[in-house]
């Protein structure tokens, strides 16, 4: 007998080291807890004994969850599940829980032993993993769209290179035929004039343009892909200073456009200085490029803080973007006006990528006629005021 008792003591001691243990009477009142229970729930033993188990209920599980638990153990069966509890300080913890009913003489449970394991870390990791998976799925979709656009955009010039290459071959054939039929005599000018003066120059023209186009697409793609790998240095950004720098770097173009620039008082933000200032330059460059021919360019920059994000607006009075074209404005290689000023259709795509990487966003509002307002948000430099309990 004493040997058995010693053995049981040893098992209990080991259990107390390994697990969170509580004893509960049939009405759900706590009759005993071990040290691990106290330390994870942050209640003292005195605060727990005699209390209903609901003291650590986090409100996360539906009523049916606990009803099922009570039905199971009430009928003498073991219940097993994962429960999210709330500690005294309001923090949450997850426990893998086994509740074992100890049967009394009446054949009904006399008390319950609950043995729990802290799985908070696993739960947090799992949630994180789920977020990563969703992000990854999103990124994959984005990548697929990029590959799709790129393959189409590369194929367009390729069709010209192929087609006009054939035209070159036909022109050569015509000239060769003219020489062949002339024999040793003179080749009549009328036979070779058209291929030499029209067909061949036209073909070379389109082939060159196509090759240049493919070159610039690949260069742009490389630039876009490198951007995703560059390390970010997140720091406090004086956005008034950053905008001032960007405007002064473009002073020449702004003056040439007769631009009127107004910048309000801007809240500081947090982000990567180099990349954020690239975005600003791009927005200013767009405002200059897409200015309205009939009115002097006006650029107005304002800022505010909204739920922890610093939001800056760059409003111009340019040609605007029709509502149906706004979603496409950020697509890779998409150019709203291919006949307009030069550009590779990457500026806003890169801006969006840069801002997303530093937990920001960019979007546009435009009624179409009266100009566009681009909004960009980055985390505010000021911490959020403490949330009210």
């Amino acid at each position: 007998m004493p040997a058995t008792l010693r053995e049981l003591r040893a098992i209990k001691a080991a259990l107390d080291v390994h697990s969170i243990v509580a004893m509960t009477d049939t009405s759900g009142r706590i009759t005993d807890v071990n040290d691990k229970f106290c330390s994870i729930s942050k209640y003292s033993r005195g605060e727990l004994i005699g209390q209903d188990h609901r003291i650590i209920n986090s409100g996360y599980h539906p009523k049916a969850f606990f009803r099922d638990m009570w039905d199971t153990i009430g009928s003498g069966r073991t219940w097993r599940g994962e429960i999210r509890n709330r500690a005294k300080d309001g923090s949450f913890y997850w426990v893998d829980t086994t509740i074992f009913p100890c049967m009394g003489r009446s054949g009904r449970p006399a008390q319950y032993v609950a043995i729990r394991t802290d799985i908070t870390e696993r739960k947090v990791d799992a949630a994180q993993l789920k977020r990563y998976a969703a992000d990854l799925a999103e990124k994959n979709k984005e990548l697929e769209a990029i590959v799709n656009t790129l393959s189409h955009d590369l194929r367009s010039p390729l069709i010209n290179v192929q087609g006009f290459g054939n035209q070159l071959a036909r022109a050569c054939e015509r000239i060769r035929a003219a020489f062949a039929s002339a024999g040793t005599g003179a080749v009549p000018a009328s036979e070779v004039r058209r291929p030499l003066e029209v067909d061949i120059p036209q073909a070379l023209n389109f082939i060159n343009a196509g090759v240049n186009k493919m070159d610039s697409l690949l260069t742009g793609l490389l630039r876009f892909s490198r951007l995703g790998r560059e390390a970010l240095t997140i720091e406090r950004l004086d956005m008034n200073a950053l905008f001032a720098e960007a405007f002064s770097a473009m002073k020449f173009q702004l003056d040439a456009a007769g631009a009127n620039v107004r910048v309000g008082l801007l809240p500081d933000g947090r982000g990567d200085r180099v990349q954020t200032s690239q975005v600003l330059s791009n927005l200013i460059d767009n405002a200059i490029k897409y200015r309205h021919p009939d009115r002097a360019l006006c650029i107005k920059v304002e800022g505010r803080v909204e739920s922890g994000q610093a939001v800056y607006s760059v409003a111009d009075n340019g040609i605007g973007i029709a509502p149906e074209h706004q979603p496409k404005a950020f697509e890779i290689f998409h150019r709203l006006n291919p006949d307009g000023p030069a550009g590779e259709g990457l500026g806003l795509t890169i801006a969006r990528r840069v801002l997303e990487r530093q937990k920001g966003r960019i979007w546009v509002e435009s009624s179409g006629q009266g100009g566009s307002t681009f909004y960009l948000s980055i985390p505010s430099a000021e911490p959020l005021p403490a949330a009210t309990p």
């Binding site: 367009s156 010209n160 087609g163 006009f164 015509r174 006006n337």
Partner: protein
């Protein structure tokens, strides 16, 4: 029978890529198709032509047309053109061949949903063009000129 079936249709090439449009025209001409060909640089231009919008030339009232429609164009794209044609009772039956590249699978699906299922892969090959025209009931109305002595 297509409403364009009775008359030799004008061919409307709608493509923002000037090179593609020139190649299409040259391939058709090389195959001795002598129907009049017009080129439009985007969807809006051809809609203006057909719906008599804008200042440019407009479609003849009883004119017959065969449209070669590129899908990806800036502003008003090929899918949008199709959508507008199908929504207009007077243009619903206009003969359309959608020009695609190997990369337009999703767009092709959208065109199919709009009830257009005649496609030509770029660059246009005359044999396939003739086949597509036949599917639209238009083959007999292509005006084949005397084969040129060059070919």
């Amino acid at each position: 029978m297509n409403r364009a079936g009775a008359l030799a249709p004008d061919i409307l090439i709608v493509d923002d890529d000037e090179g593609h449009a020139i190649l299409a025209r040259e391939n058709l001409e090389a195959a001795a198709v002598s129907n009049p060909i017009r080129h439009f640089r985007d969807g809006q231009a051809v809609l203006d032509f057909l719906l008599a919008g804008g200042p440019g030339p407009h479609a003849a009232k009883a004119g017959a047309y065969l449209m070669l429609l590129d899908i990806r164009m800036p502003r008003v794209d090929g899918v949008e053109v199709l959508r507008r044609l199908k929504a207009d009772p007077s243009l619903r039956n206009l003969a359309v061949i959608v020009l695609t590249t190997a990369d337009d699978l999703r767009e092709v699906e959208r065109c199919q949903e709009l009830g257009c299922d005649v496609y030509l892969r770029k660059p246009i090959d005359f044999g396939k063009f003739a086949e597509a025209a036949r599917r639209l009931g238009l083959f007999m109305t292509l005006l084949l000129a005397q084969p040129s002595n060059e070919s």
